[in-house]
């Protein structure tokens, strides 16, 4: 069967096919509290509850581990240490063998689980963990990227991408700008913390309910930890209360501990982390230090770039190599960088091991280049948007990325044109300049930034997916695939694809929990690829069944296969019959036709040679643009976003309501990363922002009052993706870079847009005030110098601030 016709609108007469704004399948269950999360599953009699016991130093050798009081505490049934692991003591996801379930002698970060208690109640387990007596011989701890770089402490080898001769290009560039940017990490803060619930089976097997984006990997790791084959472990995920990348690899440890206890005791074992433990013990978005040296011409066009990334990976490799790679892949964002060298260091520190987070390193690469573009604009006195446009990937000679992939599908010129019009950017920018000129304390800023995000796992073999579809005799359909539902609406989208394929209403399709016993060897639901890959796999499964039904009907009615059409709710068999889908299915069953099929999909066209850092790692790019406007308080550094205009390309949307939710939610999450969400460790390497009381994700009022979001109506994927849609999970997060740039614009107004604000992330009130103070002080010096040169006294009535080590702005205009 060939490529289906392209559908530009929902199919008339079909309820819940592709392109319809179908509601999230779990919506009614979410709002009534009836949706079952793992902690809501009725517990079998005898269920044990687990709690981890944490290390209290960042790096050291355990010299005494006395758990006798823990073992004798009320309700305690067993206590696990590294000695109790039956198979391999390893839950590293990328076969780096550097991440133990429980450490064997050496503690590598403050808060690392050292032992695990299983007790009759969760309260008893948690209380018992406090009774451990542990002594350490402390070892030197590396707690910063700078220290790791100085000591060449890496979790993986440095990596380089290179095109042309960047050194010569920089040397001959008309203008040159070098600086350093520090980019903070981010906690996922999924509302449901990590949880695993293991139920022992016969033969020493185990069934695990696990909040994971990667059931197959949990299965394989747990089998390895138990010293059993993969077929001894079944992992099931009905839904997660959020994932965002945080449940791609970080579930392993908790699933492993629950599985070990279940097998050891023969009792069900549940490990649900307390929020504080979750934030202390599981990895986050990597923080980065980026050093760059950029050469550019009078129009702001980049002709040479030398960019060095140093990523804080924490104590183990986890997915850091791929994440740091993706930062490199997105160093360019939407721009042709000329002759370029990108170096990346993967720093090993004595901190929790960082991991996947929506964007997977891409955001860090992009936030840097967007700051660079602004700095070029500021240096030349240009509107940053014009510098962006001047640097967009273009035609021949300007369409090759630093990893030698040709950009063939850019829609940014059209998106820019449309957003410029709908946001009224030029006029608003002028109006903001006028406002700032007369407002001494409150300053406003505005910025437009584009997103070009590569879609596919850059580890090519991961780009495969499987599905399983059963049609029962009554025409109802059971749908299963390897993707997991974490709230993003994957299940409904894939169900819509199947509904469309069979031309049956969505409510005939039962969406079922992801289960390694149904679809094996799946990839993580990650890299925004869930709907692209599982949608395609499910369609292929449905098509297999459909082909059998067509063959059956053709034979049964004596009608040519080409005359058989699946129409909404019915099947037309030439002029011989017009029957319901269910009737045809029943007949096919009686005619001994198999009504169950698997489907499989592997993303075409992609290849990448990491040795030479070249190839086509991405099937296509997703694009979007945002215009953000902000206000800052130059006395306190407080800031808020007042208006956002977004135009985002989702191709031809599978479900515009779900896609809008992804764009909107991704934007706000990105805004949080770049503004209020600050991770803070003390000098002992202990994270002190380990709960929502201290770690501040956006709240309701942080959503700008004026929020204008449109899915780009001209969007269409040039590649043959599922119904020509585009991936939408990660790309919108990076639209929020416009917020950071708008804040920088407001900050720059303090010095008349003459000095680079050098704003790092997150732009907390403290970071903004520091930037404002630095600019005010620098420009005050400049004013004073020019004033003394002309012999006139400055009328600057700035009250001299005396913040130790920090120059205060103290409202330069106060008293004017």
């Amino acid at each position: 069967m060939g490529e289906t016709r392209e559908i530009l609108a929902p199919t008339t007469g079909l309820n819940g096919g592709v392109r319809s704004a179908s509601k999230h399948d779990s919506g009614p269950k979410h709002v009534t509290g009836e949706a079952v999360y793992i902690d809501d599953i009725v517990e079998p009699y005898g269920t044990l509850h687990l709690a981890p016991g944490a290390a209290t130093i960042a790096h050291g050798r355990i010299t005494r581990l006395d758990l006798s009081k823990v073992r004798s505490a009320p309700g305690v049934v067993c206590v696990l240490t590294a000695d109790d692991i039956p198979g391999a003591n390893d839950v590293s996801p990328a076969h780096t063998h550097d991440e133990p379930v429980l450490p064997d002698g050496i503690v590598q970060f403050y808060g690392q689980p050292v032992f695990c208690v299983a007790a009759e109640t969760r309260e008893q387990a948690r209380a018992a963990t406090k009774l451990a007596e542990i002594e350490y011989e402390e070892l030197p701890a590396i707690l910063s990227i700078d220290d790791a770089m100085a000591q060449k402490s890496y979790v993986a080898e440095p990596h380089v991408m290179k095109r042309g001769d960047s050194a010569s290009a920089l040397a001959s560039a008309p203008h040159r700008h070098a600086a350093r940017m520090v980019i903070g990490g981010q906690d996922h803060f999924y509302l449901e913390g990590h949880i695993s619930f293991a139920i022992p089976q016969e033969d020493g097997d185990v069934f695990i309910h696990c909040s994971t984006q990667h059931p197959s990997e949990v299965q394989h790791n747990i089998a390895n930890v138990l010293g059993r084959p993969a077929n001894a472990v079944t992992v099931e995920v009905r839904r997660m209360g959020g994932g965002f990348g945080g449940k791609e690899t970080q579930s392993m440890q908790w699933a492993a501990l629950a599985a070990i206890v279940a097998v050891k005791t023969g009792r069900p074992a549940k490990m649900r982390l307390d929020r504080d433990d979750d934030m202390i013990m599981t990895g986050k978005r990597h923080d980065f230090v980026i050093d760059y040296d950029i050469g550019f011409d009078d129009d702001g066009r980049i002709c040479g770039a030398d960019i060095q990334f140093a990523a804080n990976c924490g104590f183990s490799a986890d997915l850091s190599s791929a994440i740091a790679d993706r930062a490199m892949f997105h160093t360019d964002n939407a721009y042709y960088l000329g002759d370029v060298e990108i170096r990346s260091y993967r720093c090993k520190t004595n901190l929790v091991s960082n991991t996947a987070f929506r964007g997977f390193g891409g955001p860090q690469g992009m936030v840097a280049i967007e700051r660079i573009i602004d700095e070029i604009a500021l240096t030349l006195g240009l509107d940053p948007l014009d510098v962006r446009i001047a640097n967009y990937y273009g035609g021949e000679g300007r369409n090759i990325t630093p990893y030698y992939m040709t950009v063939e599908d850019s829609v940014l010129p059209e998106l820019t044109r449309d957003l410029l019009k709908s946001s009224d950017y030029r006029a608003r920018r002028a109006e903001i300049e006028a406002f700032n000129a007369q407002s001494p304390v409150i300053k406003r800023g505005i910025a437009i930034t584009p997103v070009k995000f590569g879609i596919s796992f850059t580890t090519t073999f991961l780009n495969q997916a499987g599905a399983l579809v059963h049609v029962y005799q009554d025409g109802s359909v059971h749908l299963n695939h390897g993707g997991t539902e974490m709230g993003q609406g994957l299940f409904i989208k894939v169900a819509q694809v199947v509904a469309e394929e069979f031309q049956i209403d969505l409510d005939n399709i039962k969406i079922t929990a992801t289960n390694t016993g149904k679809v094996p060897n799946t990839s993580a639901t990650a890299a925004s690829s869930g709907a692209d890959m599982n949608g395609m796999a499910a369609r292929n499964a449905a098509r297999t069944i459909k082909e059998r039904l067509v063959a059956f009907a053709s034979n049964h009615y004596g009608v040519d296969a080409t005359a058989i059409h699946f129409l909404p709710g019915r099947v037309r068999v030439g002029d011989k019959a017009d029957i319901s889908f269910a009737e045809l299915v029943k007949m096919a069953y009686l005619g001994r036709v198999s009504l169950s099929a698997t489907g499989y999909y592997a993303t075409p066209k992609i290849h990448y040679d990491r040795e030479t850092a070249s190839g086509r790692p991405f099937y296509y790019f997703a694009y979007g643009m945002a215009c953000s406007e902000v206000m800052i308080d130059t006395l306190t550094g407080e800031n808020r976003v007042t208006r956002v205009d977004i135009l985002h390309d989702v191709g031809q949307s599978l479900n515009p309501a779900i896609d809008r939710g992804q764009v909107e939610g991704g934007f706000i999450q990105g805004m949080g990363w770049l503004t209020t969400e600050e991770l803070w460790w003390d000098d002992s390497g202990r994270i002190r922002t380990h709960a929502p009381s201290t770690y501040k994700i956006p709240a309701c009022s942080d959503r700008p009052d004026d929020f204008r979001l449109e899915l780009w109506s001209s969007g269409r994927n040039v590649e043959k993706t599922i119904h020509r849609s585009k991936a939408v999970g990660e790309p919108p997060l990076m639209l929020a870079i416009s917020v950071h740039r708008a804040i920088a614009h407001a900050v720059a107004s303090v010095a008349g847009h003459k000095i680079v604000p050098a704003l790092d992330t997150p732009a907390t009130p403290e970071a903004v005030l520091k930037a404002v103070a630095r600019l005010a002080a620098t420009s005050a010096v400049a004013v004073a110098n020019s004033a003394s040169a002309t012999g006139t006294a400055g009328n600057d009535k700035v009250p001299a601030a005396s913040g130790a080590g920090m120059v205060g702005v103290g409202a330069p205009q106060a008293g004017v």
Partner: protein, 495 residues
């Protein structure tokens, strides 16, 4: 004095519960999930900061016959005995008997207001409270009602839309009013005129007296008791620090401690009055005081937490003490039948130590009405505007006469181990002309008053700089009224 009961009586939805033999520090959330097997209410943080566990409590409104008062609270940090005499409503109670969704639930489905769904039950309950109050269209009021509910998926847009779309119970909805009267009657019948609760359980004792005289008596007998008010701090001692509290003396049922009265312009606030109870009266004293209360915690926290608790626990970053100190508030402490009144600022001795003897309790706070020409300003600086703990809080009561400062009281939170007046700074200003020069001197003097610390909320440098800049802000606002100086807080809403 009527005898105290030992069984906890309340309505779970419309079902009566009489509970005996429960560990008094069992949280409402654990009770719902583990004992009642009602798992719709979720644990997101177990510290009252995410709102996934939001439930609605209904209480008889003693001021209006047959009426009920409803409020949202975080079930994760409320203890079960505090439910006594109340109706507990959870997400399971909203659907109609015929299976149809409640208007707020339907609106959430229709607007695509849930993604992962884990925060959703909590949002539904906050929306339900809006609905009970007749609905809300104003974005600011919706923000306030939802500030205590975190969502990591949606970006809030669809939920705000749902709040607007779900409408509300009609004020004159006869069926709804009669339902409420029925509940009020049942609750009255359930608890009767008893003298409160006294629970003795192997894991701890719990007292919930109904009068301050009885409270005073219990505290004299049990001077080491943990005094529990809203539980927004004490709750965390249990959920995060795994402490045993024994005995607990709960003051939330002490009727005469819950009053908020205006006497000769001064506001007298009982130690058991919640922030929500006191919000209106404090906002009437000064707009900035109302705005400050609006930004304390979240709606759920303000519905439980008390001004008395905020003061009594002595936190260096409590939001109300600096403002109240600047306003010259006084504290009434009581032990047995003996009362003493002290300036609030004298209550805070040093970090972790307050001027409260064993067996003594804070009975009320008296906030004087500012003198006619005095101007009050307060600014709370935190990483996030809503529901955040303060990095620096500056509060100023300034009186200007003929361009000079005749009086000023300045107090800061987050700058020292206790909420504290900036006395050197005050001295540098009082009697001086209110000019750039005085401002400069005052800014410098502030550095002699405080040596703020660095922690996860802010560096010591930032704290000092902001504190100085707040002086500048005060200066600008009191001398150049046309200049825009604020990103939030121009409009003060009560609630």
């Amino acid at each position: 004095m009527t005898n105290m009961r030992s069984d906890i009586r309340f309505l779970l939805g419309n079902e009566e519960r009489r509970i005996e033999n429960i560990d008094p520090q069992t949280t409402v959330l654990n009770y719902l999930r583990l004992d009642e097997h009602k798992c719709g209410t979720k644990e997101g943080c177990a510290e009252g900061d995410c709102g996934a566990c939001t439930v609605v409590l209904g209480e008889v409104d003693e001021t209006v016959p047959g009426a009920m008062r409803y409020r949202t609270v975080n079930a994760c940090i409320q203890f079960v005995p505090t439910l006594d005499g109340k109706q507990l409503l959870t997400v399971e109670h909203l659907k109609s008997a015929d299976g149809s969704l409640h208007p707020v639930q339907q609106a959430m489905v229709d607007t695509h207001g849930s993604q992962c769904g884990f925060c959703t039950p909590g949002f539904v309950m906050s929306l339900y409270k809006i609905w009970l109050d007749g609905g809300e269209d104003d974005r600011g009021a919706i923000n306030d009602a939802l500030a205590g509910n975190l969502c990591r998926c949606t970006g809030y847009g669809p939920i705000i839309e749902a709040a607007r779309a779900s409408g509300g119970a009609g004020i004159n909805d006869v069926v709804e009013q009669s339902r409420r009267k029925d509940v009020a009657d049942r609750l009255k019948g359930l608890v009767g005129e008893g003298g409160g609760l006294e629970i003795t359980h192997p894991r701890g004792r719990y007292f919930a007296p109904r009068s301050s005289d009885k409270l005073a008596q219990i505290l004299v007998t049990h001077p080491d008791a943990i005094i529990l008010a809203g539980g927004t701090d004490v709750g965390l001692w249990v959920t995060k620090h795994l402490k045993r509290l024994d005995p607990i003396v709960y003051i939330g049922d002490v009727a005469d401690l819950k009053s908020v009265e205006v006497r000769d312009g001064d506001v007298h606030i009982g130690a058991g009055a919640t922030y929500s109870d006191a919000h209106g009266a404090l906002g009437d004293i000064a707009a900035d005081l109302g705005e400050l209360v609006r930004r304390i915690g979240s709606r759920q926290i303000r519905n439980a937490g008390t001004l008395g608790g905020n003061i009594a626990n002595g936190s260096p970053i409590g939001d109300t003490p600096p403002a109240l100190i600047a306003l010259g508030a006084r504290l009434v402490l009581r032990m047995g039948d003996v009362r003493r009144e002290i300036p609030l600022e004298d209550f805070f001795i040093t970090y972790g130590k307050q001027d409260r003897a064993k067996g003594e309790f804070v009975e009320k706070i008296i906030v004087p009405k500012p003198a006619g020409s005095s101007q009050f300003r307060a600014w709370k600086i935190s990483k996030r505007f809503d529901q955040d703990i303060t990095a620096v809080l500056g509060a100023f009561a300034i009186t200007l006469e003929n361009g000079a400062v005749s009086d000023i009281r300045i107090a800061f939170g987050g700058m020292a181990g206790t909420p504290m007046r900036a006395k050197k700074c005050e001295a540098a200003i009082i009697g001086q002309p209110w000019t750039d020069e005085t401002l400069n001197t005052a800014r410098l003097a502030l550095a002699d008053d405080f040596k703020p610390m660095t922690d996860m909320r802010a560096s010591g440098e930032y704290r000092m700089l902001v504190a100085q800049n707040l002086l500048t802000k005060l200066y600008i606002e009191t001398t150049q009224p046309g200049v825009a100086t604020r990103l939030v807080g121009k409009a003060v809403s009560h609630g």
